[in-house]
């Protein structure tokens, strides 16, 4: 059971790192640098701040759900 919780925490740390990187990283701290690149008509940093980070947030939650449902089954703690 301890290893179930440890795995859960590992997933959380990795996913929250992604969460932090796309929003605070690409959207804010690195935005001035990324703005020198373009994605269509968007400057890249601006795109992450107003569009991209939101798409990634959605993906993060669905990846989390998939990982946790699999983990629950493997450790036999899922709901019947």
């Amino acid at each position: 059971m301890q290893s179930y919780w440890k795995k859960n925490l590992t997933y959380l740390v990795i996913l929250l790192l992604v969460w932090f990187t796309v929003s605070y990283g690409f959207g804010i701290l690195l935005a001035p640098y990324l703005d020198t690149f373009h994605l269509g008509g968007f400057k890249l940093g601006f795109w992450f701040a107003q569009q991209g980070s939101i798409y990634v947030f959605v993906i993060i939650i669905f990846v989390y759900v998939w990982l946790m449902n699999r983990l629950d089954k493997n450790y036999d703690v899922d709901e019947k």
């Binding site: 969460w19 929003s23 968007f42 400057k43 795109w47 939101i54 947030f57």
Partner: protein
């Protein structure tokens, strides 16, 4: 048909729909009243959460705010969506497994203390009341502008509708009306956005048009053109903004963490049958929210481009009809300072001749873009749906806090289920009347306070809940000390800069580390964490059964039996 006829028809239809749903979904038990019986499908819960969350501010004001802030508007876009990642990953599954009815329930049980419970109740009431006041006002504003009824009559009509389905149906009635309200509001938001995107860029999806090329024959990208227009008039380039980087960072964080700490959002995750459903409904909620939140910045850019090209340096007498119409409401004001008969809209305050209320960008957008009358009416119905759904969710938190957390848990533990249900309904009714009074006699500080509700939620609830789940050894002394210091620090900073100090002194060089009062909740949250962890070391560990409780909420199995011990 006239705009007003259309508005009566569409608003009338949507209101009958809400009332019909309320009659169908009446609550018979406290469990139905508080958490809709705990049997809501995750997709329905996602839709309801999205409507609950997206208020009059998201629907009416946000795109307008962004269009004046440019890049800086990202604080709202990331702040009000990124919080769902925290909710779905760190809070929702564990709180669902814990399986009671309210956030103060969790704080009170986890920290085995009625003091902690009371602190949580006070925070929940404060946050919810400031928030709901803004919603009722929003209802009144929409009524008065589109139906030309008196603003107060508008508030009263709104109160009656909410009264009907919140008091009768509790969480059950609210959930299913919110599902309908989401459909109304998203349709009303997307239709004008798609029309305008096609007009300007030829792209159907506003998210694509936002980064697309203009079809005016110039071949320029929309955003490049907008940067140029902004700079020509002396504003900062649209895509670069004017706030400092650390302030953007802190405000975004305060809004994200605050979102995850708002009681009316958290309580929605108590309504689904399983832990698994709590996780996935966070995902659905964010999808439904993201549709509006990725469209809003596109609307902001379209509206600003349209506005500048329509008014800048044009003859005042040649302005289209909507201009005079909105001038009458006071949302647009023109003062011909140099008497040349043309409108100079520039960044420099001394020579600028045009003042524009940010709300106009969404409300007048269909008229500016010359869209059909039924689209304008649709926007009115959407604004009402957004305001009513959020108001109902907040009123439920208020009524639950009173009937469950105060009366049942503290004052009168032997109350019968029926008695508790009566109290819940009375509390909801009283809360609606107070909220309505706030709407009719708005205290001047409401608009400012709403933004700070997030900072306060971030600095109080969030750390206490996170530590309660992830730190088994956290005791009541640590948690209470943390909540109180976080709250007092954040509140004093805000009150000092916003209400005591001369507004001219509310500038970056006077702020701690250049953090504005809007972003200080993040700092308050850090203080809360540090104080909790330090104080906890000096007091005994929590009792055995509390540590077992924490162990138990970490594993999903057995959640079906939740809320039975009530």
């Amino acid at each position: 048909m006239e705009v007003q006829t259309w508005t009566y028809i569409i608003v009338g239809l949507t209101f009958s729909l809400y009332i019909g749903i309320a009659l169908w979904a009446r609550a018979g038990s406290t469990k139905e009243f508080y958490v809709a019986g705990g049997g809501v499908h995750p997709i329905a819960n996602g839709l309801a959460t999205a409507a609950d969350w997206m208020s009059a501010a998201s629907f009416i004001s946000m795109a307008g705010l962004i269009s004046f802030m440019g890049y800086d508007g990202a604080v709202y876009l990331m702040g009000w969506t990124g919080g769902y990642v925290l909710l779905a990953l760190l809070l929702a599954p564990y709180l669902r497994k814990f399986g009671k009815f309210t956030v103060p329930d969790f704080i009170g049980d986890r920290y085995y203390s009625d003091v902690a419970r009371t602190v949580a109740v006070v925070c929940a009431l404060f946050v919810s009341f400031t928030y709901v006041a803004g919603q009722m006002r929003g209802v009144g504003v929409v009524f008065s502008r589109f139906l030309e009824v008196d603003i107060n009559l508008g508030v009263i009509i709104g109160m009656c509708i909410v009264f009907f389905y919140a008091v009768l149906g509790g969480m059950k009635g609210i959930t299913y009306t919110q599902v309908a309200q989401y459909c109304v509001l998203i349709f009303a938001f997307m239709v004008p956005a798609i029309f305008i995107s096609i007009q300007l860029t030829g792209e159907i999806l506003p998210q694509m048009g936002f980064g697309g090329k203009l079809i005016d024959g110039s071949g320029n990208f929309l955003l490049d053109k907008l940067d140029g227009l902004n700079e020509e008039l002396g504003f900062a380039a649209y895509t670069s903004g004017s706030k400092s980087m650390q302030d953007v960072f802190f405000i975004t964080a305060a809004l994200m963490v605050g979102t995850a700490g708002l009681p009316h959002v958290i309580v929605r995750f108590f309504t689904v049958p399983k832990v698994k459903d709590a996780r996935i409904s966070g995902g659905y909620a964010l999808v439904f929210i993201a549709i509006l939140y990725t469209t809003a910045p596109a609307i902001a850019a379209f509206a600003r481009t349209n506005l500048i090209t329509t008014v800048s340096n044009q003859d005042y007498v040649a302005m289209p009809e909507w201009f005079t119409k909105w001038e009458e409401t006071g949302l647009i004001a023109f003062e011909d300072k140099n008497n040349d008969g043309k409108i100079q809209y520039v960044a420099d305050k001394g020579t600028n001749e045009l003042t524009i209320d940010r709300d106009i960008m969404v409300l007048a957008n269909p008229e500016i873009a010359d869209l059909p009358n039924w689209v304008i009416a649709l926007v009115a119905a959407g604004g009402l749906a957004a305001a009513l759904s959020t108001a109902a969710g907040l009123l439920l938190v208020i009524s639950t806090s009173v009937s469950h957390d105060l009366i049942k848990k503290q004052l009168k533990p032997d109350i019968t289920e029926k008695g508790e249900l009566i109290w819940a309904r009375i509390a909801a009714a009283v809360a609606i009347i107070i909220a309505g009074l706030f709407g009719i006699f708005p205290p001047g500080f409401v608009a400012q306070v709403v933004a700070f509700a997030f900072g306060l939620a971030a600095a109080s609830f969030f750390p206490a809940i996170i530590l309660g789940i992830f730190n088994k050894k956290m005791n009541k002394e640590g948690a209470i000390a943390g909540m109180v210091t976080g709250l007092v620090f954040t509140l004093s900073y805000i009150i000092y800069f916003k209400f005591i100090l001369d507004p001219a002194e509310n500038i970056p060089s006077n702020w701690i580390f250049g953090i504005s009062p809007e972003g200080i909740g993040t700092f308050g949250m850090l203080i809360n964490f540090v104080v909790s962890l330090i104080v906890a070391r000096f007091y005994p560990e929590p009792p055995e059964e509390v540590q077992n409780l924490v162990e138990d909420i970490r594993f999903p199995r057995g959640a079906g039996a939740a809320a039975e011990g009530h």
